[in-house]
Symmetry: C3
């Protein structure tokens, strides 16, 4: 429960209407928010809906306040204010302490503010910052370093020598530091290359569930500060993901790729190995990146969804495109011949 006065102070906005002592206990979409809940309007197009609002308070821009029949907290960026306010209503992790079933190597110093869940395993030489939370069933390999305030959800695996910065979050079943996919060909099979690098994750990095980030072969795999990574993403060995970049669900990045700062890779984007993607590149969903991207902006590949029968005809024509192009060239040449003949015949007939 939070009072509107507390919200005003926390968000740095201005309470235009409503009793500062009123409390809200959650957030809800504008249409169904009750007087006990906070709502928000972040886009002008939803302002007309304000007239039916019943929320205990609405976060919005001051210019829209007159359209709102219920208490208003005016802020510059209502969506950002909603994001910050939402965190007040989130489940907090359990109290600090080490669950008796956890297996923690005797070499590990565990600050009193740390919480280690049931059946977690922490190997020798691990360093844990203040307020770290290790979920149940996590495995933390030897010499891993986890910064202050970082939280691992259940069943996360961190291989040896991985380093996570401060205030990171890693969701369930994610694996950081598994071997990169490195093999040398032998006549009779594959010779595995030991992956001797590490994974270095910066501060304020958010990593989804079932993500895999592989350790480097010789150098390290690096995730810079403020990167956000959605579920089921794969980052291969020796990649570097630049600050504030966002990798959406199911993105796959092959080895030794550098992604710049402030990039977005939408869902299922695939990037081939050894490429560079410059800062501020925005790659659309399912795009196939097989060359470096050297200029900022939006990029796409693929073809639009069509009814299968119609698609099948066009798809066959795609496989004949080179031939079609040649036919157009031949047409252009033949037509030019006809035109030339016509002109000469015209001039003859004049």
């Amino acid at each position: 429960m939070v009072t509107l006065a507390e919200l005003e102070e926390f968000l740095g906005g201005r309470l235009l209407r409503g009793d500062p002592a009123t409390t809200v206990s959650g957030v809800a979409p504008l249409q169904r928010a009750t007087p006990a809940e906070l709502a928000f309007v972040a886009d002008k197009k939803y302002v007309p809906r304000l007239k039916d609002a019943r929320a205990g308070c609405v976060l919005l821009r001051e210019a829209w306040a007159d359209d709102c029949p219920v208490p208003v907290l005016a802020v510059d960026d209502p969506y950002l204010a909603y994001a910050r306010a939402s965190r007040l209503f989130e489940d907090s992790p359990a109290a600090p302490g080490i669950h008796p079933s956890a297996v923690v190597d005797s070499s590990v110093r565990v600050p009193e503010t740390v919480q280690i869940g049931a059946h977690a395993v922490i190997e020798a030489g691990v360093e844990l910052g203040e307020g770290v939370v290790i979920g149940p069933g996590c495995f933390i390999g030897a010499r891993v370093s986890i910064g202050t305030g970082t939280r691992l959800m259940p069943n996360v695996t961190l291989y040896h020598d991985v380093s996570l910065g401060e205030r990171c979050r890693v969701h369930a079943s994610t694996v950081i530091g598994a071997d990169g996919f490195g093999f040398a060909r032998r006549p009779d099979g594959w010779e595995r290359i030991a992956q001797l690098g590490r994974v270095l994750v910066g501060d304020d990095v958010d990593i989804g569930a079932s993500v895999t980030i592989d350790r480097g072969a010789l150098d390290d795999t690096v995730i810079e500060n403020d990167v956000i990574i959605d579920d089921q993403v794969h980052v291969a060995h020796n990649c570097r993901i630049g600050a504030r970049s966002a990798l959406a669900g199911c993105v796959g990045i092959a080895g030794s790729v550098t992604v710049g700062a402030d990039c977005t890779l939408a869902g299922q984007v695939g990037v081939s190995g050894h490429l560079e993607i410059c800062d501020n590149a925005h790659i659309a969903g399912q795009a196939r990146v097989t060359r470096s991207v050297v200029a900022p902006g939006g990029y796409s590949s693929g073809t639009p969804l069509e009814p299968t029968r119609q698609w099948a005809r066009n798809a066959v024509r795609f496989t004949q495109l080179e031939a079609l192009q040649r036919r157009v060239v031949e047409l252009e040449e033949a037509l030019a011949t006809v035109q030339a003949a016509d002109e000469s015949s015209d001039s003859r007939s004049e």
Copy 2:
């Protein structure tokens, strides 16, 4: 071991030939089924193979019975009958009981018919129906509800407040209820939006291994009854998947997507955020869905597989398609001019 008489009663078919007391102890493909095994023929094209059958009994349509030299159990839908019969020969989970290494919060009432595996963790306020099976290493967050007869395989993670219906199955390493990928942009990074919704899964839902289904931001993510989901699928926050729809391996669905009832999304299909897919839509493998689908039927995107050298030429031409189109338009115009000139010259020469 099941007798043919028991099979006849269980499947509701008609034993046309064979001793009702004969037993079978498994199912096998027609060609290698021994007299101790059950086989089936579901498609007319395999009827000619019946003459070599050695199975203890064959499930088939009554019309095909005369072609079968071994005992026959005639049924209306042999494939469905095989599906039902196959379950008689499956490994059953171990006996009910709570493994001593499991960590179960004292607030949780565990029915006597429930089985909780080794090293499972069950947090406060969890509700478990009769006959629930929680595999070893599972994590069940606070206030989760699991319906009668639902079974979780090992190392599944259910975050707090997730609800699973009755008779569901969830395979290993799957994560339900992790945070949706929701962030507001700040000038210097991302502000995480707390994901305050839940995941609600209906009855008879089958979920594969390494699947991720994220909790909603404000509203809930909903999986309706009888949905089937293959391995490695990702369902983002606030999606709704309609009854009886099937999501094949590696499908990725972005946030706030509604998939109708009786849809099939084949392997690796990707769906962009905030779209609606109507009932009875069938999306082909790897298709790229970036607009809502408003009519039932089959949909596809992409290009066919080609030898790389040939593909590369066609792919370059794809990037010149707009230019090629313009050249065709110019050709049409130029030809029309020639035709007009020819006609006028013809009329002049007449």
Copy 3:
């Protein structure tokens, strides 16, 4: 720490320069390798960089030795030699023994050379070869067989009756033997088909993190010897992956597919069900395989990455390709008419 003499003997090369008693304690890229580290040059184009080398020893071809100012170990295949040498500097698993928190069924014979990690669960009838390592949190189902020297990283799940050969490695959170995605349609939903086959994995198979390999429906899913599989790959039921084939990250293979020997499927390749891919086929990243591949060689599909604005115009034209083709045919016919008319008019005018 390894001496150059030991390296020479282990790799079968020839130490051309340097004190055999010199030791190296790691491997590093040529440019930053210190005198305490080993480096390598596998490609002629990097030979000019040798002049600045400070490494304790460089693996290279004898022909390049004169360009190298530091000790040289000459080998036939420097990349393969690097692969083999890299393994000398890898973390080795902990000492053999069964962690007291592991739950091992009393029927299981555990050789003294085996290591079983904390919170691992081993069910009845499991067979473990010499030197097997089971990571913390792994689940090993009933009657699983694991060959000599095979190593499972943390939180791996092997379902009942799975068989792994010798010297395999399986990375964290991987699931082998979950149910294949098999259902028969009922009017009101889906009837699950029990998956009664197994997964059989050969020798020297390397499997990445968060991989899923499903058990067969009636027959077995088979991974042959020396196959290498990257993270997040999905192999569905009843597939067979041929010897020495490589599946890169996020590949998805539908049911009953046969991949031949010595194939490579690059990242995010998708293969539809019931296809056959012949030996020595090499499928480019994100390709969409919907027909069997019957000839060795390289294959691709998809379209190149383009700036989104440009792509959007071309993509629309793709959906009109059949119409464009028709327009070209019509142009050809119209032009032929004009040409015929011109010729007849020419002949008339002569």
